[in-house]
């Protein structure tokens, strides 16, 4: 009889838990894998997060493949980087998705940049300056501290989409922020010896990372953002690196490294391919891994080249 009661009790418990289980998972589509990773960390098993761009893809040039439209058509939440980073491919996808929830102004539309302090906001915008972004540099997710603001924005949207999950999402957000604080201390400690170190970057996409870890990016291999490296620019960079004993060039997975390699050979330096997004390399599975990877890779190169 007691066994019967025990089974009965378990069944009641299961039934009570069932509504939470039966709650369909929220479909979250994010433009970039970093935003999808944050959504997955905050949403836990209550969301299905999908990223349109791959981690090793140039986020400026993603093709608006129709297959993404089917994903967006049934999305509850759409997270975008904003600041016109994805202007070539997010608007056409959203317009074809026929999903009012995720249009700008809809409850499921998340501009992850809301409230993020921006760098390099131009006083005037002219394409003479190359591919500039009129709202400011859009690569802000590369600063983990700004990741907290992204997480807050994503959290707000998840709560709007599923108010019943508020406590659950809040607990995950808290854990996310705590893990980030913990990790941040480690990352900063690791980078501390290299504060103020001058480096060169391929493309102007590291100002937030640079600011966070006290690096000093003095020039780029691209003469202007989006314009491929020219011999005159490379010569200028080589001279600069020789004069200032700069040894490290950082680049991104989607740029060919021939020009960076060439410059590095000339100055006896090193090229480090950093990850610009989650998934850039197989071991980078979450937003935290992204900085583990970048901090380790960069610290290793800086250590090897510091006399």
């Amino acid at each position: 009889m007691q066994a019967f009661y025990r089974i009965f009790f378990v069944i009641i418990l299961l039934l009570a838990a069932a509504p939470a289980q039966a709650q369909p998972k929220l479909n979250v589509v994010a433009s970039l894998p970093d935003l999808a990773s944050i959504a997955a960390l905050i949403g836990g098993d209550r969301v299905e997060a999908f990223a349109i761009a791959s981690g090793y893809q140039n986020p400026h040039f993603v093709d608006p493949k129709p297959s993404y439209i089917t994903r967006l058509a049934r999305a509850d939440v759409f997270v975008t980087t904003g600041l016109d980073l994805e202007i070539g491919w997010v608007p056409p996808l959203l317009q074809s998705a026929r999903n009012g929830k995720i249009l700008k102004g809809g409850p499921g539309y998340v501009d992850a940049s809301a409230g993020v302090p921006l760098l390099q906001v131009p006083a005037s915008a002219s394409r003479e300056q190359g591919d500039i972004h009129i709202y400011g540099n859009p690569h802000y997710w590369l600063d983990p501290a700004r990741g907290k603001i992204i997480a807050q924005n994503v959290y707000d949207a998840l709560v709007r989409a599923q108010p019943a999950g508020q406590a659950y999402f809040a607990a995950n957000l808290k854990r996310f922020n705590e893990t980030l604080d913990q990790k941040m201390a480690q990352w900063e400690a690791k980078m501390r010896p290299y504060r103020g170190t001058r480096i060169i970057a391929y493309h102007n996409e590291w100002p937030y990372f640079e600011e966070r870890f006290g690096l000093n990016i003095v020039d780029f291999l691209e003469p202007k953002p989006g314009i491929p490296p020219t011999p005159s620019q490379l010569a200028k960079v080589i001279r600069l690196m020789q004069q200032q004993a700069i040894k490290v060039i950082i680049t991104s997975p989607y740029f060919k490294t021939d020009s960076a390699d060439l410059v590095a050979r000339k100055v006896n330096g090193q090229v480090v391919t950093l990850a610009t997004s989650v998934g850039a390399f197989p071991e980078i599975k979450t937003y935290f891994d992204l900085f583990d990877f970048n901090v380790n890779a960069l610290a290793k190169a800086l250590q090897a080249t510091t006399p």
Binding site: S54, V62, P92, R98, V121, P122, R127, G214, N216, G226
Partner: protein
């Protein structure tokens, strides 16, 4: 005063970061950099808090020069077209797209409403309705504006069957995103009044309208490769007062590695149309046309397109026109390209006509969408 304070704050911040061993010139460089960064900071709030309800505006210029081996004037140049695009959401329910072109026709510039339509944003059942004047949803390239195509000359099948500018008419378009989870499928049905002129289809004095349908199927073969198969069907009045029926097939295979997607890519594309035109006098003309092209991206800025055309005339199945063309495109940035084209066209029993073209296309204003 505020600026002075900011500058002062900037100098202090710069001083903290400064490496004491720095050479004088690098110090100057750093100072300039800091000053530039500081000078732009106050704009931050202004730029983000200055929304505008103006539509997105862009102007696209298309200028051409050419040599042609037939006729009296063999060398010529023209500013082919300036297109003004205005695009914006109207309200939460619809968006509007208006394209006005000022084009060169026989020595004079003429205004033309290229497209102007309203598109719904959130109809139920994954439907989307478009109303106005628009390029018909048929085939693969008909929806694309000529300046965005990777070649200069219109494929013969389009030129012969629909006119140099493609099929562009006024009416309604309803498209349905088929709830197919296995692959992307979109069905578009359109009813339009009938184009003002054309051999295949033309405006009818009676109540007959032009009906078109297109089914687009799309598969991701892998992360790097996709396949698109489209089926088109058209039925409408022709200038002979009878009916033309048409069927079309379009195939596009695209290889574009996700990782280094700005360096190399390959597109293989073919379209074929079969037209069955009632001549009104009891006779019928069955005409056929196709083109096939390969577009290879040689390097970040260079594209090479080879194309073969074959086409009859919709009212003359014995026309048998052929053409082979090669276009080399140099894309300086996303906003400017220069194309060099060579084309030779021939018909059975006639001398081939050779043509060499240069085209310059530029875009100013809002960044347009990438084509896929």
């Amino acid at each position: 005063m505020a600026l002075l304070l900011l500058l002062a704050a900037g100098t202090v911040a710069a001083a903290q970061d400064r490496d004491s061993t720095a050479a004088a010139d690098s110090l100057l460089l750093e100072l300039e950099r800091e000053m530039a960064a500081q000078a732009t900071t106050p704009a931050q709030q202004v730029a983000r808090a200055a929304p505008s309800t103006n539509p997105d505006i862009s102007v696209i210029g298309d200028g051409r020069a050419w040599y042609v081996s037939e006729g009296q004037r063999n060398v010529d140049a023209e500013f082919h077209e300036a297109e003004f695009a205005f695009r914006s959401a109207v309200d939460p329910y619809a968006r509007a797209d208006v394209f006005v072109a000022v084009g060169h026709h026989d020595g004079a510039f003429e205004f033309e409403l290229e497209e102007a339509y309203l598109t719904t944003l959130s109809l139920p059942y994954q439907l989307q309705l478009r109303a106005g004047k628009f390029r018909s949803t048929i085939g693969k390239i008909n929806r694309i504006h000529p300046h965005a195509l990777p070649f200069i000359d219109t494929p013969a099948v389009y030129a012969n069957f629909f006119g140099e500018e493609g099929l562009n008419d006024q009416g309604l378009s309803l498209s349905w995103l088929v709830p197919n989870r296995a692959f992307f499928q979109e069905l578009t049905l359109e009813v339009t009044r009938g184009p003002a002129e054309g051999e295949s289809f033309a405006f009818d004095e009676g109540n007959r309208l032009l009906y078109t349908g297109h089914l687009k199927n799309f598969w991701d073969l892998s992360d790097d490769a996709t396949l698109e198969v489209g089926l088109s069907g058209l039925a409408g009045p022709n200038p002979a007062g009878a009916t033309t029926l048409m069927g079309g097939l379009d195939l596009t295979y695209r290889w574009k590695p996700v990782r280094f997607n700005t360096y190399h890519s390959l597109t293989l594309q073919a379209e074929a149309f079969l037209s069955d035109r009632d001549a009104g006098d009891g006779g019928r003309v069955r005409a056929f046309g196709l083109y096939a092209l390969a577009n290879y991206q040689l390097a970040r800025r260079w594209f090479l397109v080879g194309r073969f055309d074959h086409a009859d005339l919709p009212d003359d199945a014995a026309w048998n026109e052929h053409a082979a063309s090669l276009t080399l495109g140099w894309y300086l940035t996303e906003y400017q390209k220069i194309e060099l084209g060579a084309r030779t066209a021939w018909r059975d029993g006639t001398d081939p006509v050779f043509q060499a073209l240069v085209r310059l296309v530029f875009v100013i204003g809002t960044h347009g969408a990438h084509e896929y």
